[in-house]
Each structure stands twice: as structure tokens, then as C-alpha cells.
């Protein structure tokens, strides 16, 4: 059976099915039980699986990850929720110091199979600390995988894979896309491989790479340029920030010779820098134009009054594509 679901419902479906399939999967976080999560992502799970598997915790992010690590070491598969990614820094010590390292510290004897879900990103008129895009901070930690879905269907499939993954996965949910659109999502088993980017459409003249909430304005810009100029653009949804799928990106750029990268995060030290470095390593000789990036700025995410002007728009993306084509 296939249903039209938004991203919130699709993530809920993944959680529900994995909890149904596997008793060791537990959900843990603030307000995720009785309240169903502040975005209602865990709605209904408390009623279905009970308070021992859908755990409403006291207010402490470090404790949520720290105890999740213990649970994972002891054979459970915790799916922790950070209410907003802006509060996840309080768990950073546990992530960097332990979740990411127990495997290497014990030469593989102990592993930490857990997922940390967190809504991230701007565009929803939220308060301070509720709009950042900080995937780079997590991507920089060896031993941690970072996944960012962009649609209901890939959110569902990637979350299932993340829960089944033997290592810690940071699963960042573009909250701006939570209820923005619906998509057919199959009830049947669907997984997607973590670490693989997806080529959404093949093309020969230019490659565009993006991820998360930026996929929608990017797709729109790509369509506009194609319509106006009759060019053929290859569009890549990165999906996994780390470990990054360099082969798909480099392979595409070898073919097109031109590339634009779109990221919501501040410009410096973000995934776009890593993408450009990867192209530099593997496909430099194929480039016919410098790789352009469209990004946020190196400023504190402005409160929402000014925020719209600071998020990449399809106009900005379109101009970057045109300029790169014309170079």
C-alpha cells in the first residue's frame, strides 16, 4: 500500500515500523512521549509501545546522549531526539568523547549503534537557537555518520537504515520541509544506503549539489534555467554529509565540467568546502569553470525578522548556475 505522507508522518512511520520489528529499538527525548514531540514526529508511539520504550526524559541533552550510549552498549538501539539542533551542543562532549570513539577505543569490541534525530534549519519564523544549520560540526567528528534527508520518502528510508546501522548516526531533519509537501511512501520495507548521494536527474552541462531543505529552491532554480536556456543539468542530492560520497560528485563533474554547490549553512568550513576540495582532488583537470557555492553567511543566524534575506533563495541559486554556465 502507498500513502501520501509528509516528512513528519514518514519519519513516524519509520520509527513505528522499526520499533514494531525490533524490541531493542527505543525512542528517548524531551516531550516525545505523552506530547508526541513538539513537531509530533513521535505521535502515537507512546500509546503503542509504552513508557519504557518511548522515554520522556528530564531536561538534559548530555544525559539523553550519555544514557543512550549506555543503552546501546548494553544492546538496545536508542533513537534519541534533540528537540532542536540548537540544543544539541549540550551533548557534544558525549558525542565526540564517547559515542564516536568507543569502537576505536576498544578496537571494535564495543560499538554504539544509536541515532540522534534533530530538526535543523531556518525558514519557519522560530526563536533564537531554533534555526541553525550546523551539520558541519557533526561532519567533522570521525566515527559519526551524518545524514540529512530531503523528502518524506528518503527520510523514511534513511532513518530505517540509520537505526539498523552499527554506528552512531546524526539524523538532521530539515524542519522547513516537515510539512511542506507530501509524497507517496510505501508501507513496504524501504531502505537507502547511508553514504550514497542520489543523482536526481542526469545532465551534461553542469552539476548542482545540495541537500536538506535547500533541495527545493535548488530544484526550482535548476528547472528555471533548463527551461530558459535548454541546458542539461545534473542534480545531486547529497543525503549523507559524512562519510561523503565523493565518487558520485567527482564522477558527475568529470562529465559536466561545471559545478554549483548550495548549502544553507554559513559559508566557511561547511560541507560545500569539503565538496569543492573533493572535486579539486579528483576532477580538477575536468573543470571548465571555478566551482561556485551559494551559502549562508558567516554571521550568527539572524532572528527571523531578517532571516529570509540570509537564506539562499532560488534567485541566488539561479544566478550562480547561469554565471557558471557562462564562465
Amino acid at each position: 500500500m502507498r500513502n501520501k505522507l509528509n516528512m513528519v508522518q514518514a519519519i513516524n512511520l519509520a520509527l513505528d515500523q522499526e520499533m514494531g520489528n525490533d524490541d531493542s529499538v527505543v525512542a528517548i527525548g524531551q516531550d516525545i512521549g505523552v506530547n508526541g514531540g513538539v513537531f509530533r514526529v513521535t505521535e502515537g508511539l507512546f500509546e503503542k509501545y509504552g513508557e519504557s520504550r518511548v522515554i520522556d526524559t528530564p531536561l538534559a541533552e548530555s544525559a539523553i546522549l550519555g544514557t543512550s550510549i549506555g543503552m546501546a552498549v548494553a544492546g538496545l538501539k536508542p533513537v534519541a531526539e534533540m528537540q532542536f539542533s540548537g540544543f544539541s551542543y549540550l551533548m557534544f562532549g558525549q558525542l565526540e568523547g564517547h559515542a564516536a570513539r568507543l569502537r576505536s577505543r576498544t578496537q571494535g569490541a564495543i560499538s554504539v549503534p544509536l541515532v540522534v534525530r534533530m530538526p535543523y534549519g531556518g525558514g519557519v519564523r522560530a526563536l533564537e537557537h531554533h534555526s541553525e544549520s550546523r551539520e558541519a560540526m557533526y561532519g567533522h567528528v570521525p566515527g559519526v555518520k551524518v545524514v540529512i534527508p530531503s523528502t518524506p520518502s528518503n527520510a523514511r528510508a534513511l532513518l530505517v537504515s540509520a537505526i539498523r546501522d552499527p554506528d552512531p548516526v546524526i539524523f538532521m531533519e530539515p524542519k522547513r520541509s516537515y510539512r511542506a509537501f507530501r509524497e507517496e511512501v510505501s508501507e513496504e520495507e524501504h531502505v537507502m544506503e547511508i553514504g550514497k548521494a542520489q543523482v536526481l536527474q542526469e545532465g551534461t552541462d553542469l552539476t548542482v549539489v545540495s541537500w536538506g531543505a535547500m533541495m527545493r529552491p535548488t530544484l526550482q532554480a535548476v528547472e528555471e534555467v533548463q527551461d530558459q536556456r535548454g541546458v542539461s543539468i545534473e542534480l545531486i542530492d547529497l543525503l549523507t554529509i559524512s562519510p561523503m560520497d565523493g565518487d558520485t560528485i567527482s564522477g558527475s563533474v568529470e562529465k559536466t565540467g561545471r559545478c554549483v554547490v548550495v548549502q544553507e549553512a554559513p559559508k566557511s568550513f561547511g560541507p560545500s568546502s569539503e565538496i569543492i576540495a573533493t572535486i579539486n582532488d579528483n576532477a580538477l583537470m575536468y573543470l571548465e569553470a571555478p566551482v561556485r557555492r551559494v551559502s549562508g553567511y558567516d554571521v550568527a543566524t539572524p532572528y527571523f525578522g531578517r532571516e529570509p534575506a540570509y537564506l539562499p533563495t532560488n534567485g541566488r541559486i539561479r544566478r550562480a548556475i547561469e554565471e557558471t554556465l557562462d564562465f
Binding site: V34, R125, V299, P302, G315
Partner: protein, 381 residues
């Protein structure tokens, strides 16, 4: 120095060995001066001037009216998400009245009433919750930190400020730090309590136990019977006050501030109150709250009680009440008008305040940003 080998008083070698020594060796004192039926404990009545009492009442009434208006504006899409303070006015107004301008106000985000009493303009809340950093500062706010959304972080800042006071020998000032029951679960909270106690600095923690942290009830936040008893582990005075009794919150904070300024160290005050509205405008309490509990607390409204007290003292009547209502309405109308008329929000202000000095890389990006803005507006035409 030789390590301290004296046995602490708390250790009692005469007690028979038992892993679970449940006998409670501590008691928590509770202060209530004005109860919900307006009965006054005359012996403990604070020595406050009529002017101060009315100032206190006025701030509570103003805060309640601002909450009401902001809720309407939010529902009309004229401002964004905001936290309501309704029901908790006394928990921040009493402490704010006990403070002098030299004391630091280190708040969380539900102390609108106390902030107004301290002189923060109404317009600030409108600005802040409509997405403008401009709402974080005001004239006269040199010793007021902005709203802190990251739960419990401000408790450590408060302790640092108090430390600075201590080493500078400021004996006429102290810090009041506001936090919620949820905050007491954070590491930052316990670290702040510990540092405050180790350093013996002049800080007063006012913890509004409003029974909820979004949907999590107080009993699930902590297994402790009271929040006040957490102070005992840090050898710090910890007391409970009726948080809906403005006289009690005033008096307890005043006593703790006097003690702090005299070098007596930190105090923890649990103000027992109730969140009468939703957590923020994005929240729906009907998903987790029993209506009976809400009704029971509506009957303990801090404003009704305080008005009754003023009337019984003969310093308040219906005419004054009507006058105050009209005045408050006018003040809010004016603030809404002023705030909605503002159009001086500099688009590139975020680039101005990344650092205290100009940085070429940031300036380059500012130029890029302004170019994009121009292009977007051309696109739009």
C-alpha cells in the same frame, strides 16, 4: 596546607549501618505571607511603601495584559512564537522589587513581569518575539542580561558575575538568577550551584517551579520531593516560597540578597507557582494537562490575591483599578503602534556585530549580501 581531616558534622558514626537510611534529617522551610484567601501573616508583612506596593501590582497587571495582547497578535500573525508568563507574575515581580539597579538580573524567558518592573520597555518583547535582536537591549539595562533560551546556561553566567562582584569588593550588589524547574535537570544548573557554593559568591537563584517543562510534569523532572532540597547537597540554604504570593517572593529574595551582599554566600529559592497558559504559542497543553489541576491553580491567581491585599490595606479601590486598566491598555496600544511603525531595521546589521572589529572576510560577505538583496529586489519588479 594539611588536608582537613575533621569529620564533617553531617557524618554520624553513631547511626547503625544501613544502606538506605530513609529517616529524613532535613526539613525545607516554606514562606507564605499572603494566602489565596487574602489572609495576611501580619508578623511577616514586609515593610514596603504604598508606592512600592502599587508598583508591584502595576507590573503584574501590565505583564498579564501584555501577555493577553501578545497572544492576540500572535494568533493574527502579527508577532511570532512567544512564551507566556500568565500565572507566574509574582514569581518574578517580587524578586525584581527586592533588587536595586546595582544588582544583576539574569533571567530565563518567562520573567516578563519582573523585567517590566525593572524598567524594560514593553516594546522590547514585541521586537524580540517578532524576530529582531533590537528587543534584547534597553536604556538602563546595563545590569540586565537578555532572555536566555538555552535552559540553565544563564545560571553559570550569574555565578561568574557574582564572582566578579566578589573580587572587586562590591558589597552593595548581588545577582538574581531566574530559572525553571526543568532547568534543575541540566548539568549547567548543578555546576552553577557547586561553583556558587565553592566560591561563596553573592548570587540568589530564583527557581520558578511552575509544575511543567513543556509537557513534562514536575514529578517526572526530578524524584526529589522539593527542588529546594537540591541546595542541601551544596551546603547552601534552600527554601520554598509560595510563588504566587508576591509578598513572600519579595521577602525571601530580599533576605537572600541582604545575606549575599553581606558576604553570606548564595541562596536557592524555589518559588512554587503554576503556568496558567500554554508553554509557548506553539504548544497545546490539552495533550498532557488535566483540567482539574489547571482550575485548582487558577483559584490561586497571584493578581487577585494581591489586589485583595491592597484593598484590605485601604490603598486600592475600584476607581483606581479602572484607572490602571485604562492606563495599561493605552500603554500597550502605544507600544504596539510604535513597534508596528518601525522600519529602521538595517538589513545587514548581522554583519555589524559578528566581532568587535572589522574583518575583511566578513566585509566581503556583506558586500555580496547587499548585492544579492539588490538583485532580489530587481527580480521582484
Amino acid at each position: 596546607m594539611i588536608a582537613n581531616t575533621c569529620e564533617p558534622e553531617a557524618v554520624d558514626r553513631q547511626q547503625p549501618y544501613a544502606l538506605d537510611l530513609r529517616e529524613r534529617t532535613f526539613k525545607i522551610s516554606h514562606l507564605q505571607i499572603l494566602d489565596e484567601q487574602c489572609n495576611l501573616d501580619a508578623e511577616r508583612e514586609p515593610d514596603l511603601s504604598t508606592e512600592d506596593l502599587i508598583r508591584l501590582y502595576r507590573s503584574m497587571v501590565l505583564a498579564r495584559a501584555v501577555d493577553d495582547r501578545m497572544l492576540k497578535l500572535q494568533r493574527q500573525g502579527r508577532i511570532g512564537t512567544f512564551p507566556l508568563c500568565t500565572g507566574q507574575e509574582a514569581a518574578s515581580c517580587g524578586p525584581a522589587l527586592a533588587m536595586t539597579p546595582k544588582d544583576w538580573f539574569v533571567g530565563s524567558f518567562r520573567e516578563l513581569a519582573g523585567r517590566l518592573l525593572r524598567g524594560e520597555p514593553i516594546e522590547n518583547g514585541f521586537l524580540l518575539f517578532n524576530g529582531y535582536e533590537e528587543g534584547n537591549v534597553f536604556q538602563g539595562g546595563e545590569r540586565t542580561l537578555p532572555v536566555s533560551i538555552i535552559i540553565a546556561a544563564q545560571a553559570l553566567h550569574a555565578v561568574g558575575i557574582a564572582y566578579a562582584m566578589k573580587i572587586r569588593g562590591e558589597t552593595d550588589s548581588a545577582v538574581v538568577c531566574f530559572l525553571g524547574d526543568g532547568a534543575t535537570s541540566q548539568g549547567d544548573f548543578h555546576e552553577a550551584m557547586n561553583f556558587a557554593s565553592v566560591w561563596q559568591v553573592p548570587v540568589v537563584f530564583v527557581c520558578a517551579n511552575n509544575h511543567w517543562a513543556i509537557s513534562l510534569p514536575r514529578e517526572k523532572q526530578t524524584h526529589s520531593q522539593t527542588l529546594a532540597q537540591k541546595a542541601i547537597a551544596y551546603d547552601m540554604p534552600g527554601i520554598q516560597v509560595d510563588g504566587n504570593d508576591a509578598l513572600a517572593t519579595y521577602q525571601a529574595t530580599k533576605d537572600a540578597l541582604d545575606r549575599a551582599r553581606a558576604g553570606g554566600g548564595p541562596t536557592f529559592i524555589e518559588a512554587v507557582t503554576y503556568r496558567l497558559m500554554m508553554h509557548t504559542t506553539s504548544d497545546d497543553p490539552s495533550r498532557y494537562q488535566l483540567p482539574e489541576q489547571l482550575q485548582a491553580w487558577q483559584a490561586r491567581d497571584p493578581l487577585i490575591r494581591f489586589k485583595g491585599y491592597l484593598e484590605a490595606k485601604g490603598i486600592w479601590n475600584d476607581e483606581q483599578e479602572a484607572g490602571l486598566e485604562a492606563e495599561v491598555r493605552q500603554q500597550i496600544d502605544d507600544a504596539v503602534k510604535a513597534f508596528e511603525a518601525r522600519n529602521d531595521f538595517k538589513p545587514d546589521a548581522p554583519f555589524d556585530h559578528v566581532f568587535g572589529t572589522k574583518v575583511p572576510r566578513i566585509e566581503e560577505q556583506r558586500t555580496e549580501f547587499l548585492d544579492h538583496l539588490r538583485e532580489e529586489s530587481t527580480d521582484a519588479q
